[in-house]
Symmetry: C2
Subunit: 431 residues, 2 copies
């Protein structure tokens, strides 16, 4: 397991150690649950300097868990499991890993006390019997107290490698990971090789147009910088990666690449580290002390949702109207009924009137108006599904755009919300 | 690869064949992207009768892709890849799989023509050179036309097994999967053993309370029915699974289990197959020909977004107001300013006034009002972060609830939106 015949290299060419993530749960193999833990853990492990070489997902099955553990230990110095630590019968990770490593399970009095106390606070006199197994800890393992739930995390050392078991509930996993990171640093600190990443978040340019332009520039950039393009419905992220260099070298190479790419990407950039156009809008408007009101039809509250996802958004966002019915457009937003009848509810004139109306009713400097056909029904020859009119009102100006977005209802809504935020971003910069 | 020494069993104990999913992409290992394809593919393959025994995620790396292919063919009769078929340099799945199977890549004139035509429509006279490699097809492979993007899907047969390559863009993958399913049915049809699943979607009861009640009932249910609990922020799904039985036997066993569980779960059920409380609200209100108006503060448009995610929601949802600023609560919704000053904006009285106001301004039979402290800031001793007041107005009645939801901003918002929909669902049933 730790270097015998057939064992593969757990280090990369520069001696950096690597990790494997294993998600456990029948629900993942049946497709009932999307595994968001994997991406979160991968980002944490990469930053920590233990790049992930593989993620695996297996069912609530002892043999599969054992195989995944052995396969992981062949390729990596750190193996992180998520899921299967709960109180129910189908939670088998603890047992399977302990037995695969030949470790007995022992009742941990501290964990038992913490569990009992947790249930006492919730009004239970005794610990439900099923939860008792959550206090069983493999011999030699360290139990990590779970501030957010019942299942403690577990860290085991085996032949110079680390195996961590974390609960599958995302907020519990997130609460426990820092303790795992401490163990990794403590035991493998000399071998950590952080990956250095810089991301340029673009919106409004397709990958097929952006990629050749970027690749042309990168032909002349430092060769240690790798480029990847990550498209989604809101735009294309250009990810620059440097591996196995010191922090100073990596930072210089990334900065050089970023400067070289600037002329190509600048007009499409989302100027926020997160790449979130909503955050960028809030900070740009915040700097100018402008407030915002929304009038959404086909996006149905998605722009409001994206903005209010951000803590502190209330300093900029005064509110929004989801105006699905025409009466809401006329009554609440003051859109002229004659305009709706002459131009149609899905029209540039109505989008502009909605943007102005939103700014007026919320007494804000800026307004966004969105009207369109998200589908699947409602399309016509003249205004097919995907037709969206966007308008933005800012002090001293007003702009509108007409799009026909591809994709299904969800895609049209996501693209329309993103385009509206991007339009406000550009308009607020220019004005 | 197909039964030699060391090959493991690709069939389960009943002779059914199994599948492995491999997601390819550095972005997945760096945690920049959440893999939603895996869950979707897993659900499709399970239904098709090719249960997924493992999912693997590897980087844009030839060796890793080759190893994942070989490992997959050891354990499964169907291996489905997603990602790495794009036009850029870091797209390596096509090449790696072809070379691992010893298949030459050949230019496919039909694929080339389809690509050229696609770009012609978008205003490009010639195909961008990078896209030309997307027309290269491994010898013997079937190319699947991609209606939603540039990368064709590929299906290969090797030693009685099937390998499918699909693009990583979710809507392209979804558009191409039915053709893969056809190939699976055509070549492996006799060995398909569909998994039969019934799910009871509950909301408003914690897993630790629900699970023992369900397990007690299931002790007397048909033994071939497996039970799993899938908790998330919106509730707990109870999943009942029957494997390796005929459709008729499975259906009878599932129905018996469902009937036995009914008294335990009935009051917590979300009465829609999707488990989506928004869909359930729309159909219940639709049956009664009631319309709905929303007034959201801390959920910031999330309830509106969830309802308008559903096609056809405009028949029920008239509109909504995201009333972040107090002025929006008073001005747009008619909430009494004195009430806000005496009780606070986060109070039961204001939630009730918002629900009534929403019904009034949108001229709808029903209204929802939500006000609370989503955090991270804004909490007090009396009204800590997580405090949410919900109110629902329906013809002839009005109800309110007070919650203190655990978790971060996002968790509070998701729980509050779900609780509001569940409250309306119960109230609309009872009234």
């Amino acid at each position: 397991m730790t270097g015998g015949p057939g064992a593969r290299e757990v280090r990369n060419s520069e001696g950096g150690i690597r990790s494997v993530i294993v998600a456990v749960g029948d629900e993942l193999l049946l497709g009932r649950t999307v595994d968001t833990n994997g991406a979160w853990l991968a980002a944490q492990l990469s930053e920590l300097g233990v790049p992930v070489v593989r993620k695996a997902t297996v069912g609530d099955d002892r043999d599969a868990i054992r195989d995944a553990l052995h396969h992981g230990l062949e390729d990596a110095a750190v193996v992180v499991f998520s899921g299967g630590l709960g109180p129910t019968e189908d939670d088998r990770t603890r047992d399977a890993v302990a037995s695969a490593l030949g470790l007995e399970l022992q009742l941990d009095p501290e964990v038992l006390e913490a569990l009992t106390e947790r249930y006492r606070k919730r009004g239970y006199d005794i610990l439900p019997p099923a939860n008792r197994k959550q206090a069983m800890v493999p011999r030699g393992a360290v139990a990590l107290a779970n501030p957010a739930g019942t299942a403690p995390g577990l860290v085991l050392r085996t032949g110079g490698k680390l195996v961590a078991l974390l609960p599958g509930v995302p907020r519990e996993l997130k609460a426990l990971f820092p303790a795992v990171a401490d163990h990794v640093r403590q035991h493998l600190g000399d071998d950590l090789h952080p990956v250095h990443v810089a991301t340029l978040h673009t919106t409004g340019i397709p990958e097929s147009v952006l990629a050749p332009r970027v690749e042309e520039v990168m032909a002349g950039a430092p060769p240690e910088v790798e480029v990847a393009f990550l498209p989604d419905l809101t735009g294309v992220d250009v990810r620059l990666t440097v591996r196995d260099r010191s922090a100073r070298e990596a930072s210089a190479a990334l900065e050089a690449a970023r400067r070289a790419l600037w002329p190509v990407v600048e007009q499409y950039l989302v100027p926020d580290e997160s790449g979130d156009a909503a955050r960028a809008v809030l900070s740009r408007l915040g700097e100018r002390r402008w407030t915002l009101g929304l009038a959404e039809s086909c996006t149905g509250g998605l722009v409001a949702k994206r903005l209010t996802d951000v803590p502190g958004s209330s300093a900029v966002l005064r509110g929004g109207v989801v105006a699905y019915a025409n009466e809401a457009k006329t009554g609440l937003l003051g859109v002229d009924d004659v305009l709706i009848r002459s131009q149609g509810a899905v029209s540039e004139a109505v989008a502009r009137a909605m943007a102005r109306g939103a700014a007026r009713v919320f007494e804000s400097q800026c307004g966004i108006g969105i009207t369109g056909v998200a589908g699947p029904g409602g399309g016509t020859d003249e205004k097919p599904v995907g037709t969206v009119f966007l308008a933005v009102a800012v002090p001293g100006g007003e702009v509108a755009e007409h799009h026909v977005f591809p994709g299904d209802r969800e895609a049209v809504r996501v693209r329309a919300a993103q385009a509206a935020l991007a339009l406000l971003l550009r308009t607020a910069r220019a004005s």
